[in-house]
């Protein structure tokens, strides 16, 4: 929250308690490129900051000054650096600083320095517990913020505490519940399940893979045209070296047009959930997947691969006409790959 009183503070040059500091103006030896026309408030504060840096002072008022500058320019690298050094020198209560950061982080979610500073602080407090909740709150504001997700991955990996990891899958599930197309959440799930070691309860890796395949299939069934889920499926298979072939029964219905109304329902196969009603089919990612299966099965049979490529190319044109997603590209790349031809766009 902005305190109105704060904005009405007089300039540092008018405050008697700062009279002992010699302000230092910014110096340019030659006319600068892209000069910035600073406000009086910013010029004043940074003049005093340069003065402080020169004298090396580390005191509570430096914290006030650097906060002032950061609020005007959250990207001010040196103000952050000097603030951190001052906090350390003064042995300031870092929980207070983290509270201030809670506010600034939400305000400046895309500023790198906000997150870097936070990492430095938490490395000192060594209390990562509250951070996950803070991150969850930040993700409410911006569900795909790169810095926020990186910070979560860092907290988990750096402290690597079982208690921290214990709720990650539930958290991911709720994030995907609210947006099944949130690729950051899918990526995070992959990181938690496959890239960060094996946690208690997950020792049976075959069971983990079965769980993940079931999880992703269910979500593909809900929303078939979701590149994030298909990429996750491919990621799981590649990572565990499972052949794409084994997924054929599941993928096939997604690669075909929607069955006409009145078609008797298929026998329910829990391993292969069917596309939800009203899905836009055929699904490009499924067609691509089937092509990969055929290609793997065909081995050196270039003719068959070329046929698949041609069918896909035709399908791609059809889908483009219906303006679905980006099938033209998909078919082109399949065609190019299957024929080993990257030089031409036409079959």
């Amino acid at each position: 929250m902005d305190l109105p009183a704060e904005e009405e503070q007089p300039l540092y040059s008018q405050r008697p308690e700062w009279a002992d500091v010699v302000p230092l103006e910014q110096y340019e030896s030659v006319a600068p490129l892209a000069p910035i026309f600073y406000t009086d408030e910013y010029r004043d504060a940074t003049n005093y900051f340069r003065g402080i840096v020169k004298s090396g002072e580390m005191s509570p008022r430096v914290l006030e000054l650097t906060e002032n500058i950061i609020r005007q320019n959250p990207g001010h690298y040196s103000a952050w650096q000097y603030r951190y050094k001052t906090l350390m020198a003064l042995k300031s209560p870092l929980d207070d600083e983290l509270q201030l950061m809670d506010e600034l982080a939400i305000k400046h979610l895309k500023t790198y320095q906000v997150w870097h500073h936070r990492r430095l602080l938490v490395q000192q407090t060594r209390n990562p517990g509250p951070e996950l909740e803070f991150i969850a709150n930040s993700l409410q504001v911006d569900t795909k913020n790169y810095h926020t997700w990186s910070y979560r991955q860092w907290i988990l990996a750096y402290f690597n505490d079982d208690a921290l990891w214990s709720h990650e899958l539930d958290f991911m599930e709720s994030m995907l519940e609210s947006d099944v197309r949130n690729n950051s959440a899918w990526h995070h799930r992959f990181f938690v399940v496959f890239q960060s070691g094996v946690r208690s309860g997950d020792e049976d890796r075959d069971a983990v893979v079965r769980r993940e395949l079931a999880f992703v299939k269910e979500r593909i069934a809900i929303a078939p045209n979701n590149a994030s889920a298909w990429n996750y499926l491919r990621g799981v298979l590649d990572h565990t070296k499972i052949s794409y072939c084994e997924l054929q029964a599941f993928v096939l219905p997604y690669s075909l047009p929607q069955p006409p109304l009145g078609t008797p329902p298929e026998v329910v196969d829990l391993e292969s959930p069917l596309p939800s009603k009203n899905s836009q089919l055929p699904c490009v990612a499924a067609v691509e997947f089937m092509a990969d299966i055929h290609e793997a099965a065909g081995g050196g049979d270039l003719v068959k691969a070329t046929e698949v490529g041609y069918v896909l190319y035709e399908l791609g044109k059809y889908l483009t006409y219906r303006s679905f997603g980006n099938p033209w590209q998909m078919s082109t790349i399949l065609y190019a790959r299957d024929t080993g031809n990257t030089g031409s766009r036409n079959p």
Partner: protein
């Protein structure tokens, strides 16, 4: 829908936008200070790639800009590099530069390219100091910190270190093996590269990884290459623009980051170039400059990267001369004329090469 011809690319307008930014920025742009040299590079790069530099700027201006860029070259016990701008430089300060005024690796890369655009002879470059600076920035995991003192270390800084080493034609400033190891550790299951290990695949850092590998003459194995190409192609949206991550909206800057990545992998033909140009065309601001999406305000970053993308992956020549730009070197991210200049003038003269001086530049 029948194909329609593109609206013209307003090269002159974009050059004017960039020239205006070089002349001054409003107070609301104060966050540019810690990245001023990067902004300058995007402005100069736009003028260069559109062939407008000589038309829009005067000789004395270019000389003055060179002087200012050189005034950002600073040295310390950590070596020599370029700082972002003079925002921490005090008046009449003659003592050695404080740690709060230290050079930054991304700024150093953009400074070298900017000086090459301005055809500087690099007689003032402290080459030994620059190599020392790179060494001071490299961490034990192979990554590079943005500053010798610390700061962010991710694939952006790694790429810059590779590009600087290439321009110097000297790789003694880094441990190449561990740097390559770091790049590999940023690869994700989607086929792209995250900003740092465990990060989500992102267009910008994927370019950084692929260009760096290529600068070091390394190739992806065929399966990995195929996965990366697949992911990059998937990122071209139906409106022709590229998204930086799966399921995100297109943004003009990713036309370069993803398009150039495909080009680096020799798969530039898989880009739908006409559609990409159309997306860029609609991101043009009517008073000059290119925005990240249609209808937004332009900035030099999106202007340059859009122009660079079009230069690298141009639409059919039937779209007219407005879409013709100078050919681009996708690995250093500058026009070929500029990158050749950099490669010819930035390396130290080798004693053994003295006899071959007559061949310089060939």
């Amino acid at each position: 829908m029948l194909p329609t011809s593109l609206p013209p690319l307003s090269k002159g307008g974009h050059a004017t936008h960039c020239k205006r930014c070089l002349s001054g920025l409003p107070s609301s742009q104060v966050d540019i200070d810690p990245a001023k040299l990067a902004l300058s590079f995007y402005c100069l790069g736009s003028l260069d790639v559109s062939g407008e530099l000589e038309k829009k700027t005067r000789g004395w201006e270019r000389e003055q800009w060179k002087e200012w860029i050189w005034s950002q070259q600073t040295s310390g016990h950590y070596g020599t590099g370029f700082r972002a701008s003079s925002y921490m430089t005090a008046k009449h300060s003659t003592e050695e530069h404080s740690v709060h005024d230290s050079p930054q690796i991304i700024m150093t890369y953009t400074a070298l390219l900017s000086l090459a655009i301005l055809r500087d002879n690099f007689s003032r470059l402290d080459r030994k100091g620059l190599l020392k600076f790179l060494r001071s920035c490299q961490n034990t995991d192979g990554s590079f910190s943005s500053e010798p003192l610390g700061g962010d270390s991710d694939l952006r800084t790694t790429f810059c270190a590779f590009a600087i080493s290439t321009m110097l034609d000297d790789w003694s400033g880094m441990d190449v093996a561990s740097a390559l190891q770091f790049i590999c550790s940023c690869r994700t299951y989607e086929g792209g590269y995250g900003q740092s290990p465990f990060g989500e695949a992102l267009g910008g850092t994927t370019y950084c990884a692929l260009a760096a590998l290529r600068l070091a003459t390394k190739q992806l194995d065929p399966l990995d290459r195929q996965k990366t190409v697949r992911w990059l192609v998937q990122n071209q949206a139906s409106n022709g623009g590229f998204s930086g991550r799966t399921n995100k909206d297109a943004d003009a800057c990713y036309c370069f980051w993803c398009g150039a990545s495909l080009h680096v992998l020799d798969a530039g033909d898989l880009v739908d170039k006409a559609k990409m140009a159309s997306f860029v065309a609609f991101c043009q601001f009517k008073f000059g400059g290119i925005a990240k999406i249609p209808g937004e305000h332009p900035d030099p970053y999106h202007t340059y990267l859009s122009l660079a993308a079009v230069a690298l992956l141009p639409p059919d020549s039937s779209e007219g001369t407005s879409w013709a730009l100078c050919p681009l070197d996708p690995l250093l991210n500058a026009t070929y004329q500029t990158s050749s200049w950099a490669r010819a003038h930035i390396p130290a003269l080798k004693v053994d090469d003295d006899d071959a001086l007559g061949d310089a530049g060939i």
